[in-house]
Structure formats: structure tokens, C-alpha cells
């Protein structure tokens, strides 16, 4: 008897396009009520995975079970119970905000009265009630994103799938979207999302996998991943361009769990950042800037892949 709280189960899930393998045999489980994330750079295979989960892309190999059903044979029945926020908004910009929800609700076979009732509730939720009868075209990027989120909730889905929910939004609009998603999470909606923003993953995800080159590099809660793959603190040093290489060599003498020499900075992974800074000065080095901070998922990603998230 399968566990009823496991909503999605993937084993060796693979997606190939011709000779290119976008998703290379990944395993994961999504449990009811959690917010589960795929963190990785562009091209890591996150969107391909989301499309397979959304039942619009048949897997090339492995097993995938969603809500106890097989996406190849029961795609429609599964999609009826999912909410999808795609990377592109895919709104009908010639229609009004309300009409977009009407059309989408009808796709699910919902009665007009049901759609009307949910529309007013959902537009309240995404703070678009005052734009209900406006056309979509002139709305800001953040508003369109919020409308797409409202649209994805019209069928009261059991799982909400979000592919890069805040990519392309300005910082303020991002925070509004995060706030709404956080509220959904608190109301018990099961979220599965992809992101290449480590702060997004840290804020929203209970559990996440780090994805790179179509494979899962690590899995855990943000805290577990940081504890496992990084140090408590990070000392970031920036030297003038002339001194950078020389300084990087000398810094090998500072006791650190790990040292990363980037093009513009040197990162020392240490238990105590201030103590490490004192040893740096003891070596006679004076960086242009120095910063002691806590480890983040960005450091985890750097450790696991040798690259930064934004490098893609």
C-alpha cells in the first residue's frame, strides 16, 4: 500500500531530447503539505522536470507517479488536480483579468457561478480586485505574475507547481509574490517550485534538491544542506586586481575548512569569521573590503558544483 501522503514519486526519472539528456535519472518524493524546491542554474533540467510533473511532457525513462496515477495514461485526470504557474505567464493579454480566470476555469469544466465566486476570492488574495475588469496587456510584470498564480488556483489544486515564480521581477514585486506563496504554504497548499535564486529557495522551501546537469547533487532542508556542505561562517575578501592572485596564495596559510578563489573575491569557509580576519591581517594582508556572513545555499551550490548559481 503506497503512502497516501506521498503525492509525487520519481525513480530514475529521465528526459531526453534527441541525443541531449535534460534530466538524467533523478529520484525524489513530494509529501503532502510541504514546499519542495529544485535549486539550480539555467539548463540544470528543472523546467523539464516540472513539465513532466505537469503531465505535458512524457518521461523518456524511469518511473513517475503523481497522486497515485500514471502521467502517461492519466494525464488529464492528474492535470485536473494540479495548479501550474509556468515560467512564461501565458495569459491572454487581449482579455480582462476576470475573463482570463473565466476561460481557465472553464477548461476545468467549472460552472460559471463557481468560477465567479472563486475569482473574487482569488483576486482579493493576489491584490488585483481593483483591476478585475482591466485588460491584462498594460499590467506590470508583478501583477501578471500574481494573476497567473490566481489562475493556477482556480481549480483548488492539490499540488501547486511553480517554475521560476519570480524570475524577471523587480525586487519589490518578488517580495509581494513570496509573501503570497508563503501564505499559501501556511494554508497547507503543497508547493513544488524551481528557482535559481538561493534566497527564494531559503525563504520558501522546507526541503529542496540541488540540481546540476540533469542530476540531483544533494537533498535536504536549507539548514541541513548548509550544515552538511558549508561552514558556519564565510569570510569574503576582495583585493585590488594586482594583489588578487598573490593574496590568494598567501591565504592558504589561514586555517579554514575550505577556500574558494573566485575571479573577483576570495571566500574563506570558517567557524569564526572574525578570528579568521585577524589571521589574515596577521599575514600582513589588507583587503579592500572584507565581510563576515553566514553560509547560504549559494555556498552549498559552489561547493557541490564548483560554479556559482548565476553562472548557469
Amino acid at each position: 500500500m503506497p503512502d497516501p501522503d506521498v503525492l509525487i514519486r520519481a525513480r530514475g526519472l529521465t528526459k531526453r531530447f534527441g541525443k541531449f539528456t535534460a534530466v538524467d535519472g533523478i529520484d525524489f518524493e513530494l509529501r503532502r503539505g510541504e514546499a519542495f524546491g529544485f535549486l539550480g542554474p539555467n539548463g540544470a533540467g528543472k523546467s523539464s522536470t516540472m513539465r513532466m510533473i505537469g503531465c505535458v511532457s512524457p518521461p523518456s525513462g524511469g518511473e513517475l507517479t503523481i497522486l497515485g496515477l500514471d502521467p502517461v495514461t492519466d494525464g488529464s485526470a492528474i492535470r485536473a488536480r494540479l495548479g501550474v504557474v509556468p515560467q512564461e505567464d501565458t495569459l491572454d493579454v487581449e482579455l480582462t483579468v476576470r475573463e482570463n480566470l473565466l476561460v481557465y476555469g472553464r477548461y476545468f469544466g467549472l460552472a460559471r457561478a463557481v468560477i465567479a465566486e472563486r475569482t473574487s476570492r482569488l483576486l482579493d488574495f493576489v491584490q488585483l480586485s481593483d483591476r478585475a475588469d482591466d485588460h491584462v496587456e498594460p499590467l506590470s510584470g508583478g501583477m501578471k505574475r500574481r494573476l497567473t498564480i490566481a489562475r493556477s488556483l482556480i481549480n483548488e489544486p492539490e499540488i501547486l507547481i511553480l517554475d521560476e515564480p519570480t524570475t524577471g521581477l523587480d525586487p519589490q514585486a518578488r517580495h509581494v509574490v513570496w509573501d503570497r506563496l508563503f501564505r499559501l504554504k501556511q494554508q497547507g497548499v503543497t508547493l513544488i517550485l524551481t528557482t535559481h535564486y538561493m534566497d527564494e529557495a531559503e525563504q520558501l522551501c522546507d526541503r529542496l534538491v540541488v540540481m546540476d546537469g540533469g542530476k540531483i547533487a544533494a537533498e535536504g532542508s536549507p539548514r541541513e544542506l548548509i550544515e552538511t556542505y558549508s561552514s558556519r561562517e564565510v569570510l569574503e575578501l576582495r583585493f585590488s586586481t594586482f594583489e588578487h592572485d598573490q593574496a590568494a596564495d598567501k591565504l592558504a596559510a589561514v586555517p579554514a575548512e575550505r577556500t574558494e578563489v573566485l575571479a573577483d573575491r576570495v571566500l574563506l569557509y570558517v567557524g569564526d569569521g572574525d578570528a579568521a580576519m585577524a589571521s589574515v591581517r596577521g599575514l600582513g594582508l589588507e583587503p579592500l573590503t572584507s565581510l563576515v556572513r553566514r553560509s547560504t545555499l549559494e555556498d552549498v551550490f559552489l561547493r557541490l558544483t564548483g560554479r556559482r548559481l548565476e553562472d548557469g
Binding site: R81, L122, V189
Partner: protein, 277 residues
């Protein structure tokens, strides 16, 4: 700030899924919601075009033609000859207008097809939903055309009423393969201008709409007979003039149905390949 609680459905199996035609009707409704915004403009053009063509060609040029003798037209006035042919040609134009750019826009520019594909709708439902809308537009335009044709006195048999479904079928023989073609275009819409210029216009001019195909050089006639438009023109004309015979009519209908049917199969496949990658 307070936020209304959202109901979260805990478990509810199989809702939202229905039979293939019910699903297609849902997709059709999205086109209707859009059409509510633009229907006035389409009515103007569906009235204006037949009036202009029947006036200029049927009456104006027709006077010259009739004067010259109409034996080549089967002894009917040029207006009576032209009107039913133009009806079929108008169906082709309507179908092309509803197929190429709207489909490409839905799959590429606006991606509303992708939005629909994330719901219980299957790619085939999305395709057939669009076809239902195309059919509705064809029926509307053909009924308008018949009314105007009657006002011009260009009808010689009550059988002309049967020309409406024949013209609609002619339109569908264009719509289904062109939908399949349009949805498969990955990059841009460049091919469409070529289809309009080197496909639609020659068909419009040389498929027997304006003059009998027998006026064409012998070597090119088989090409004209192979086009769906010629079959539509020939049958609409026979019905309007009251000269249709059963075997010939069934032959035309069989040909048009075959093309539309092949397009239906190609479209189901093309939509699936594009929307379920």
C-alpha cells in the same frame, strides 16, 4: 492585512475530465470569449466583401461577359455563374484567416495553447476546440453570403441552401491541414505570407471561381481538379444552378471529406507533438 482563507481540496479523484467533444467545447469557449470583443468588425467584412465582389465582378464585368455570350458558362448569366463559386472561395479565405495566424499566435506569441495544455484538456481537445470555432465562423460567413447572393438575385435553385454546408466543408478541408501546419511552426510566421501569396491567391483565381477550368490549358487542368477549392466551387455552383447530380455531388463531398479528415489526423498529431514535448 487579512487574507481570505483558500479552500484546499484534499482529495477528489478524476474531476474535471470529460469526453473528447465536451473537452473540445471548453476550448471552443475560450475563442468565443475572445470573439465577443471582435465580432462587429468581422460582420462588416463578411457583408462588405461579397457586396463588392458581386457588384464589381458579377454585375460590372458580368455585363460585358453576358454581352459576349454565355455558352461557355453553361448558358447562365455571369452573376449566377460567379456567386456560388465565390461562396466556396470565401469559405477558403475565412478558413485560412482563422487558421494560420490565430494558431501561431496561440502557440507562440501568447502561448494560450500552452496555458490550456496545463489543464485537463488534451492537445487534440485544444485542436478540435479551435476547429469548432472555425466552423462557427464558416457557418456565419456562408449564411451571410447566401443572404447577399439572394439579394443580388443570383440564386436559381432552392438547392442553394445545401451549398452552405458544402462551403463549410470546403473551408474545413483547408482549416484542418493548415492548423496542423501552423502549430508546427517553431520560429516565425514567414511561411504564412508565402501560403497566402502563392497558395491562396492562385487557388482563388484559377479554381473555377471566375471562369470555367475548361478555359485553362489542358496540361494544367488536372492540377485545378486536385485542389479542394475546385470541388467546393463545382458543387456549390451545381447546387445553386439546380444542376447537381447525385454521383457527382457525392464524389465532391467524398473528396472534401477525405482532405478534411486527413487534416484532422495530421492536426491531432501536430498538436500533440507541439504541446506535449
Amino acid at each position: 492585512m487579512t487574507v481570505p482563507a483558500l479552500r484546499v481540496r484534499r482529495s477528489q479523484a478524476g474531476t474535471g475530465v470529460a469526453g473528447p467533444w465536451q473537452m473540445a467545447v471548453r476550448a471552443f469557449q475560450s475563442w468565443l470569449v475572445n470573439y465577443r470583443r471582435t465580432w462587429r468588425g468581422t460582420i462588416y467584412s463578411s457583408v462588405l466583401m461579397p457586396v463588392l465582389y458581386l457588384g464589381a465582378m458579377g454585375l460590372g464585368l458580368g455585363t460585358l461577359v453576358n454581352h459576349h455570350g454565355t455558352a461557355g458558362l453553361g448558358g447562365v448569366s455571369y452573376l449566377d455563374f460567379l456567386a456560388p463559386g465565390l461562396m466556396a472561395a470565401t469559405a477558403m479565405q475565412t478558413a485560412m484567416g482563422e487558421s494560420l495566424y490565430p494558431v501561431f499566435s496561440a502557440v507562440k506569441w501568447q502561448q494560450t495553447y500552452q496555458a490550456a495544455a496545463a489543464t485537463p484538456l488534451k492537445p487534440g481537445d485544444i485542436f478540435r476546440g479551435h476547429l469548432l470555432f472555425t466552423t462557427m465562423r464558416l457557418v456565419m460567413n456562408m449564411v451571410v453570403f447566401l443572404a447577399i447572393m439572394s439579394l443580388f438575385g443570383a440564386v436559381r435553385s432552392a438547392w442553394v441552401v445545401a451549398a452552405v454546408p458544402v462551403a463549410v466543408l470546403t473551408g474545413l478541408a483547408f482549416a484542418t491541414p493548415l492548423d496542423a501546419f501552423a502549430v508546427s511552426q517553431k520560429k516565425n510566421d514567414q511561411a504564412f505570407a508565402v501560403i497566402f501569396r502563392f497558395g491562396m491567391i492562385p487557388l482563388f483565381l484559377f479554381s473555377g471561381t471566375f471562369f470555367p477550368v475548361t478555359q485553362l490549358p489542358g496540361w494544367i487542368r488536372p492540377l485545378a481538379y486536385a485542389t479542394p477549392l475546385w470541388h467546393g466551387v463545382a458543387l456549390c455552383r451545381a447546387l445553386s444552378l439546380g444542376s447537381a447530380d447525385l454521383v457527382g455531388s457525392l464524389g465532391h463531398i467524398a473528396y472534401l471529406t477525405a482532405i478534411a479528415g486527413l487534416g484532422l489526423i495530421a492536426g491531432e498529431r501536430a498538436y500533440r507533438r507541439r504541446l506535449h514535448v
